[in-house]
Symmetry: C2
Subunit: 319 residues, 2 copies
């Protein structure tokens, strides 16, 4: 464990929850599991997945105290249940485990979309169960149980979007859980979350996927040339365009309105920029290109990005 | 010097050129200068810049054997002259130094645009001077003499675009120069270069600048929220959107046709993708999102990108 984690690996003096169940052992679920185990945030951690292969990996990795394919049974005794599945899978999981959740328990998730996830989960929960949706704004372009790591959430933001009237103690407990994972917590409405993430995450992913697709479809420029000369900027986009296809398909299907709104603005601005190029408006281009530098400076200052040139990667892949 | 440079720092047994002049001490010019000095690629290296402040930094950094503001005089005795200035500045530099270049000397550049750069430089060169335009596809988002480093070009591609009829010995010498800097060299026509770079570099920069601008202009989402939650994907784009505004203004003004062509394709594809979202075409989205993964894999396999999750930056900026 490196010095940058500043003692993160230290165990809590006592667990925050008696029994925690994580459903889904992908990048996010398995990262949460690793951090919960490392810091003993749960008395007992149970991890669950729909795939036999993933369950086997989970057992081999000692990802939790118990690894099971039976979510419904595990849910019956859990105090905190976290759905860490693609957004479109939440309704099915909720239908399966919802009726078994005990009163006083808390259900949460990790989805990148919130309004539709609440609509998918809430109807399946018994009275007395609190729903505190969460979205850890963290990740990498890799997927699956082997891709996770305990420090993924350190100094990242986790957004909670509890519906009106959610039990305040439950909200505080979920906030404490994410703070124990090293995150900063912010609370906002699901609707606002979906708008914020549309511009900070969903549309960026969409245009990254799109330009990689455009480059792949060219006739005048070969794929081999695109690959060779990708260090000119293109390769930056391929990182997020290598993210999990199922997760991202579901994000776009479930945050349609906000994505279309932000995408409309992006396209409008792009057409205006295209017009500046066509008409040789150097001053207009220069103004935009200067303004955009300030935002990166702020992101670095607030610890959300490295200041190392080229993300620091230049040093890691020279042959 | 780290192990990844594999003995790059070793000096040549004899210099490739007697006197080399680099005009412009920005990120690229100062990186070339550092590598030329380290490996003794030139008998004598002269570095030149139009800015007094940059000249002072160049002297303080011992960036070359001689640092001068007088490009015309330096050009008269140089065997290789490299213009490392924003694309739009080439015509002015060529007008200034062209008449002084001695027969048998080679003039080159480092611009991201080639056809218009050749048109800007060639008319000012005396008979007997070879023009071998070059474009090292390498860089970072930082600018100026302090941002350069000697290993910037290792394992990156450098594209040469000599006009028809260029002296073959001159081409081979410039190729040898870039290979000594650690680059792989490819030769193609200026027109094809401009098309390839439009999709691998220019349009990616444009859409990065554009989305940062769109995010900056929102009313419903605050700038503070954009910054906080940028780890969801947005921050990736801010890196290239922090690149030098003068350089990039000039690129778009001088590669207009190819950029507009590639941008037209990008927008067309984006509109089609938008339609898939609006109509809930999950299969269409999934297909694209799967296809794009393969390209990143190839880029990594060919040593043009790191395989480390999140560019490896996760480890470098946790607080």
């Amino acid at each position: 464990m490196s010095a940058v984690t500043n003692g993160f690996e230290q165990q809590l003096s006592e667990p925050l929850f008696d029994r925690v169940l994580i459903i889904g052992m992908g990048l996010i679920g398995s990262s949460i599991a690793r951090a919960v185990m490392m810091k003993r945030i749960a008395g007992t951690l149970i991890a669950c997945d729909a795939s036999e292969q993933v369950l086997d990996r989970g057992r081999a990795l000692n990802i939790a105290d118990e690894v099971t394919g039976d979510a419904a049974t595990a849910a019956a005794s859990a105090d905190l249940i976290i759905f860490a599945v693609p957004v479109g899978a939440n309704a099915g999981v909720a239908r399966l485990v919802g009726p078994h959740v005990k009163p006083g328990a808390i259900v949460s998730d990790t989805g990148s979309v919130k309004a539709q996830v609440i609509a998918a989960i809430a109807p399946h929960l018994p009275t007395g169960v609190a729903l505190v949706p969460a979205h850890p704004v963290a990740g990498t372009e890799y997927s699956g149980p082997d891709a996770g790591f305990a420090t993924l959430f350190i100094n990242r933001w986790c957004i909670l979007t509890p519906p009106d009237g959610t039990d305040k103690t439950a909200i505080a407990k979920v906030q404490g859980f994410w703070e124990a994972l090293g995150s900063n917590v912010e609370i906002m409405s699901a609707e606002h979350h979906d708008l914020v993430l549309a511009i900070t995450s969903h549309v960026p992913h969409l245009i990254a996927y799109n330009i990689v697709g455009t480059a792949d479809d060219l006739e005048a420029v070969t794929q081999s040339e695109v690959i060779k000369f990708s260090a000119g900027g293109f390769r930056d986009f391929t990182r997020i365009a290598a993210s999990d296809p199922t997760m991202w398909r579901d994000v776009f299907l479930h945050n349609k309105t906000a994505v279309l709104e932000m995408l409309g603005r992006f396209t409008e601005d792009l057409i205006a920029l295209q017009r500046k190029i066509r008409h040789g408006d150097g001053e207009g281009l220069f103004d935009l290109f200067t303004r955009t530098r300030a935002i990166r400076r702020s992101i670095i200052e607030q610890g959300q990005e490295t200041a190392a040139p080229d993300f620091g990667r230049s040093k890691s892949h020279q042959k």
